[in-house]
């Protein structure tokens, strides 16, 4: 099904984007980022870090579990496992074996918005990695027997990671209650009864629909030059024809939530009862990351430090309500996401008392506003985190991969520190007033014993 490729002339979008200048700490030498598109639509990002002669090679597909159709939950992840089987050129298992024989490590992961494959290897082995990754983008061969065995593996994976973990089971119920239209409400690994029915044809349908260069982002991070990576990308990925029938990424959107949802998850394996609340929240959108930036600060202010954030101050220092309290928000998401709070009550404190105290703390914050000295400290840490992040080329590769498959561009990623830097206390309060609305929330109690833990 591949057409003969035309000579790919790469279109350079930008070159050597300078690292974000950090006035406080000076410039970092280790990380220049270059981006370009191949003619077949494949995006390429190169992150230079010449400190060690190694490289991370990653291919992200803009297809995750939230792109699945109802009834086939888990197929994105199932296919990810099956991608390590045979191709026209490689026998089953040969991909990983070849990586290992070249002194590299490889793996893959599936998320709501993307599926990614990566190898970490000596920089001079990059061509081989590209050849094999390009091969399996279009040439996968699956036998029925392998599909059947691998289905058992993913069911065991579900047993290990979800069914053996009451926190994971609770989280699954929580998301199912939070998202009633978006596929974010369905677990990435899938519901067991649907996973059991996933067929070879289901996996191959998924593969044929989404695995093509115009749905992929290549990230190469490490001891490479942008020019050399471009040449290699053109050589290995360039000849693969774009998929003309790639579906547009239009997914079911959440309706407005008008009523609070509450649930209780009971499991005898829960060691300590706890409470989680999530609110529907906007995500980072291309060219419009301001509200997400404000929410990023809000999460830090409310729960980013177990010593100095608002919830910790009120619930563990100024009172003895909680053992732990915190907040979470991740803005990289294709569709609207959640802002979360959690609290584990101290011994002798009921979940209801803990929830009331948490709400009182939020009310106090909404009335009193942001503490400017706390905000200053968080700004300092946000700036420093950019420096610490530059120490981890693989981590930077993953950040770009996640962003570029969640509706953001390289320019958005580059702009993010500036957007964060421009957030004001008033922006944060406005975002807080908008998001911290109980009518748009789900609250879950996780208990070992309903009778005992919920009086």
């Amino acid at each position: 099904m591949l057409r003969l490729p035309a000579l790919p002339a790469a279109r350079r979008l930008s070159i050597a984007l300078p690292l974000l200048a950090l006035p406080a700490a000076g410039m970092a030498e280790t990380g220049d980022v270059t981006a370009y598109d191949l003619d077949n639509g494949m995006e390429v990002v190169v992150i230079e870090d010449h400190r060690a002669p190694v490289v991370a090679h990653m291919v992200y597909y803009k297809a995750g579990s939230a792109d699945e159709v109802p009834g086939l939950s888990g197929v994105a992840h199932f296919l990810e496992h099956l991608m390590f089987k045979a191709t026209d050129e490689l026998e089953s298992g040969e991909f990983s074996r070849t990586v290992a024989e070249n002194g590299g490590t490889d793996n893959a992961f599936t998320s709501y918005d993307q599926t990614a494959y990566y190898q970490r290897v000596a920089a001079d082995r990059l061509p081989l990695m590209m050849e094999m990754e390009a091969d399996r983008m279009r040439n996968l061969q699956l036998t029925q027997e392998e599909v059947d065995t691998e289905r058992q593996v993913i069911l065991e994976e579900r047993s290990q990671r979800t069914d053996s973990n009451p926190g994971a089971l609770a989280g699954e119920q929580m998301r199912a209650a939070q998202f009633i239209a978006s596929r974010y409400g369905t677990p990435i690994i899938g519901w067991r009864h649907e996973m059991e029915e996933l067929s070879r044809e289901d996996a191959l349908d998924w593969y044929r629909t989404y695995y093509s260069p115009n749905d992929a982002v290549l990230i190469v991070a490490g001891d490479v030059t942008p020019e050399a990576v471009l040449d290699l990308a053109q050589e290995y990925y360039g000849p693969i024809a774009a998929e003309p029938d790639l579906p547009e990424r239009v997914r079911p959107q959440e309706p407005p939530q008008r009523a609070e949802r509450r649930l209780t998850y009971e499991d005898e394996r829960v060691a300590r009862p706890y409470l989680i609340r999530s609110y529907l929240a906007p995500e980072r959108d291309s060219g419009a990351q301001e509200e997400a930036a404000a929410l990023t600060y809000l999460a830090q202010i409310l729960g980013g430090s177990s010593f100095t954030s608002v919830l910790s101050e009120d619930l563990t220092f100024e009172s003895d309500i909680a053992l732990f309290a915190g907040a979470g928000y991740g803005g990289i998401s294709l569709d609207p996401t959640t802002f979360s709070l959690y609290v584990t009550p101290a011994e002798g404190v009921s979940l209801q008392e803990a929830e009331d105290a948490m709400d009182a703390s939020l009310r106090r914050f909404l009335e009193e506003g942001v503490d400017e000295t706390q905000l200053e400290r968080i700004r300092t840490q946000v700036q420093a985190s950019e420096i610490y992040a530059d120490d981890d080329a693989f981590g930077r590769a993953r950040s770009y991969g996640a962003a570029l498959t969640s509706g953001l561009t390289v320019e958005d990623v580059e702009a993010w520190p500036e957007v964060l830097g421009a957030v004001t206390a008033e922006d944060i309060m406005e975002a807080a007033r908008s998001v911290l609305n109980r009518d748009q929330s789900v609250t879950m109690c996780v208990v070992a014993d309903r009778e005992e833990d919920l009086q």
């Binding site: 000076g26 290990q160 050589e235 530059d390």
Partner: protein
């Protein structure tokens, strides 16, 4: 160049056929790091890699000792003490300390292990002096004030309760308790609910004085700092610690025979930890055993156990084995999880592989593939300042010289097929494997069943890897 047809694997095969090592393996880590041995004016020794391209420094400090120094009945003292170092010192309470740290964007970590305690720090160049003053205060003059002690004690107790219903944790604790009854490494690192409840401020001060002493220090530093600046920094930071600590325990006697212990636990899947005696880190055959382990169950998708148990039979999401050495123990351990109905088969296949490799050894091809991977993977570990600092300290702790990072791959290369197969025959003993299964396994013959209701507190194994609780030997 126009390629009219895509034949990626043709090239791939050609490359795969080459015997050349990856450049990174050939160069070793030479091109990446240059280790300097630094002795401070006050006599503290450290290994340093200067890396001035980023304006921060990673510091990793470890002390031999750890939770094995907890007195009888005071189990968990070292762990609680380390948890309290970030909770106030000098005149600062927890919030004052953390507010200052956050304002400096310094990152501190304080951890207790079974045979070590560690302090990790990442500090910006622009405020390194202030950050180090703060860290010094935490290390030298912890406050252990009452409200902080009670708060962290409650958090530790919650962790102990969570471990008691975590199948991985239960398997590790049960295995180590049975393997080393009565020895400190068979005891719980975090203590029991009773022992933690009994700890006083005096106990914490005693644990502090025992754990952090100058003649048990190892230091790795990587980043934007010169040898001179590091020397001064170390004297300021660590110079006022006590010189010596209490004697360390004697080696532990291994008490397990082959067999299976089942701990009944309500879960759809059974978690198994299996193990047998291992090999000393300084044994001449260590590298042969290391390569052998890689082939047996150490290497990602490529190991025999992964192939037999997961790839061929779909019995698990993952199975792995590793060598685990401490000052007190030498073990060959592995873990697997499988459905209650299939765990018996998974363990049977595992034992058969154990027997096969002991009897028939490995092939030249397996050995070559393992060597290529192990030597090629080594430089990948030197990935970032914090990682490198950690590696440097790990080597010091087992008395290896800085040149080890350059020579290590030659030790792997020197391993012969005869070595591996001799070690397999001598060491691997399927009848010596003892397995702890946590779950509701079906069809396990001859297993000893433990009481269905879990003891509320079980001992914890040497900590590190979350899966089994035992840490992998540095090589």
């Amino acid at each position: 160049m126009i390629r009219t047809i895509i034949r990626p694997a043709a090239c791939a095969l050609a490359l795969k056929g080459s015997t050349a090592l990856p450049a990174a393996a050939q160069e070793g880590v030479e091109s990446a790091i240059d280790i300097q041995e630094v002795t401070s004016p006050g006599g503290i020794e450290a290994w340093l890699v200067e890396e001035h391209s980023l304006p921060f420094t990673a510091l990793e400090i470890r002390f031999d000792g750890g939770a094995v120094l907890d007195p009888e009945g005071k189990e968990g003292a070292t762990n609680l003490m380390m948890g309290l170092l970030e909770e106030g010192s000098g005149d600062m309470d927890a919030r004052a300390f953390q507010t200052t740290r956050e304002g400096l964007a310094a990152q501190f970590g304080f951890d207790a292990g079974t045979d070590t305690v560690s302090v990790s720090a990442q500090v910006l160049t622009e405020n390194r002096g202030e950050a180090m003053d703060l860290l010094r205060q935490a290390l030298i003059d912890p406050a252990f004030n009452e409200t902080a002690v009670e708060r962290v004690r409650a958090q530790v107790q919650a962790g102990i309760q969570a471990d008691a219903v975590n199948p991985q944790r239960i398997s590790g604790r049960t295995w180590f308790e049975e393997a080393y009854p009565g020895h400190p490494i068979g005891r719980p690192l975090s203590g029991t609910e009773e022992s933690v409840a009994s700890l006083s401020r005096a106990d914490l001060h005693a644990a502090h004085e025992a754990a952090m002493v100058r003649d048990r220090i190892h230091v790795g530093a990587v980043g934007d700092i010169t040898p001179e600046a590091l020397g001064t920094l170390l004297d300021d930071l660590l110079g006022d610690l006590p010189q010596e600590g209490p004697a360390l325990p004697e080696a532990a006697d291994y008490a397990l025979d082959g067999g299976t212990t089942v701990v009944d636990f309500p879960s759809p899947q059974s978690v198994a930890l299996f193990g047998q005696p291992g090999i000393a880190r300084d044994d001449d055959d260590f590298f042969a055993a290391y390569v052998l382990n890689h082939i047996l169950g150490g290497g990602g998708f490529e190991s025999r156990l992964m192939d037999e148990v997961r790839e061929k039979r779909g019995l698990t999401y993952g199975i792995s084995t590793f060598l685990s050495d401490t000052e007190y123990s030498e073990l060959w351990l592995g873990s697997v999880a499988s459905g209650n109905a299939t765990i018996a088969e998974a363990l049977e296949v595992t034992k058969a592989e154990w027997a096969d490799i002991a009897e028939n050894g490995v092939t030249e091809e397996e050995l070559d593939q393992a060597k290529t991977y192990i030597t090629g993977e080594y430089p990948l570990r030197f990935d970032g300042n914090g990682q490198i600092a950690s590696i440097l300290v790990g080597l010091q702790m087992i008395d290896l010289p800085p040149s080890y990072v350059l020579d290590r791959n030659s030790y792997i290369e020197a391993v012969t097929l005869e070595d591996v197969n001799r070690v397999a025959a001598e060491l691997l003993d399927p009848e010596a494997l003892h397995t702890v299964v946590v779950g509701q396994p079906e069809g396990l013959e001859g297993a000893d069943h433990e009481a269905a209701d879990l003891p509320s507190v079980l001992p914890e194994p040497p900590a590190a890897a979350p899966e089994t609780g035992a840490s992998q030997t540095t090589e």
